[in-house]
């Protein structure tokens, strides 16, 4: 006689080993290793990407006659890569033999230190980026005409009463200073926002995991 699916189900689960629950060992361990490894990979890829971008930008900037900007950006990316490598080295020294909680906590401290440093750096970085762009367009190509001077001459012909500060029209000078100050003020926030775009999801997962583990430590 053909068995119904209901009886197959009931009889099948009568067997005593049919419902043995897997062990929950190592769950956090695995998750901790996964999260740190994922972050490490992303961080390394980002360093390589910045290095490649710096190397590509320099000849392109020269080709389009804004070499000063290219050089300034190259220096900037060099500084960023230098600090990123220092942080990467520190990340690599996190002891994998720690228990999951301590391992993640050490990693969390590392991320906080890295974000804190980058936030501070961003206060200088964004004004520097802006000044590099201004310098790039102002000074033009190496050894050639200076487009900034041509612009000032043109403006002086149009309006001879214009006030110059260090050879730059006063309103332009004030404008640049204002933007630099604004970028210095908001640079930290922009930097934080930039990091969140790249690492936000993984850092949120880290927070959740740590909250869980701390709750677990309180309960047991």
């Amino acid at each position: 006689m053909e068995k119904s699916i209901e009886s197959i189900w009931k009889e099948g689960f009568l067997e005593k080993n049919a419902l043995v629950a897997p062990k929950l060992n190592d769950l956090y361990n695995q998750k901790s290793i996964d999260i740190v490894e994922k972050f490490r990979r992303m961080y390394k890829i980002n360093i390589i990407a910045v290095a490649m971008f710096a190397c590509i930008l320099l000849p392109i900037a020269t080709l389009v006659h804004i070499p000063y900007m290219g050089i300034m950006f190259f220096v900037l990316f060099g500084v960023i890569i230098f600090f990123a490598i220092q942080f990467k080295r520190k990340l690599d020294t996190i002891n994998k033999n720690l228990n999951s909680y301590e391992y993640l906590k050490t990693f969390d401290n590392w991320t906080k230190e890295m974000i804190g440093f980058n936030t501070k750096l961003s206060r200088y970085l964004y004004p520097y980026v802006f000044l590099s762009m201004i310098a790039g367009f102002w000074f033009g190509s190496l050894g050639g005409d200076i487009p900034g001077n041509d612009l000032v001459n043109y403006l002086l012909i149009k309006n001879p009463d214009i006030i110059l500060v260090f050879g730059v029209p006063l309103w332009g000078f004030i404008g640049v200073i204002a933007v630099v100050l604004l970028l210095a003020f908001f640079g930290g926030k922009i930097g934080e926002w930039d990091l969140k775009i790249g690492y936000g999801r993984i850092l949120k997962r880290l927070d959740t995991l740590l909250t869980d583990m701390e709750a677990l430590r309180r309960n047991t």
């Binding site: 068995k3 197959i8 009889e11 689960f13 419902l19 629950a21 897997p22 929950l24 769950l27």
Partner: protein, 163 residues
Amino acid sequence: MSSDFYTTSILPYAGIIIKICRAYTDSQEDFEDYYQEVCLQIWRSREQFRGESKWSTWIYRLSLNICLTLIKKKKNSRRHITSNYLPEEGTEDNSAFADESLNQLYDAIKQLSELDRAVILLYLEEKPYKEIGEIIGTTHNNIAVRITRIKERLKNLLDGKIN
């Protein structure tokens, strides 16, 4: 996860979780991952349980939702890999249980759509249609019609395999 919570609030219902996770996975490794993830999510969400339904019903709902999410995630990650080298779903682990008929029934269940799998698991656990409707989020009548159709499909799939 607190071992007290696991022993008192999850372990008595482990059977439910095992049955659901088995229906949505094709290998022992995936099954263990899904089981652990479900247990972890139950623990994480424990404060959201307001006692409006039975604890077991809540575990059903959560387990199904988590398995459906995991299966979706797995499908998405598979799309990024060249699919030519991946084994067909439902072919890796045909002997999770000692009972051969149960293994064949599970194989047949795995051929159903994800939602139909959830419905038939709840039906086989003798949940009333009303409760199945509440868990799945549809009407009692819809569930009744769906179950008839699923049983017919399963019968066809099993036809010739089980005497």
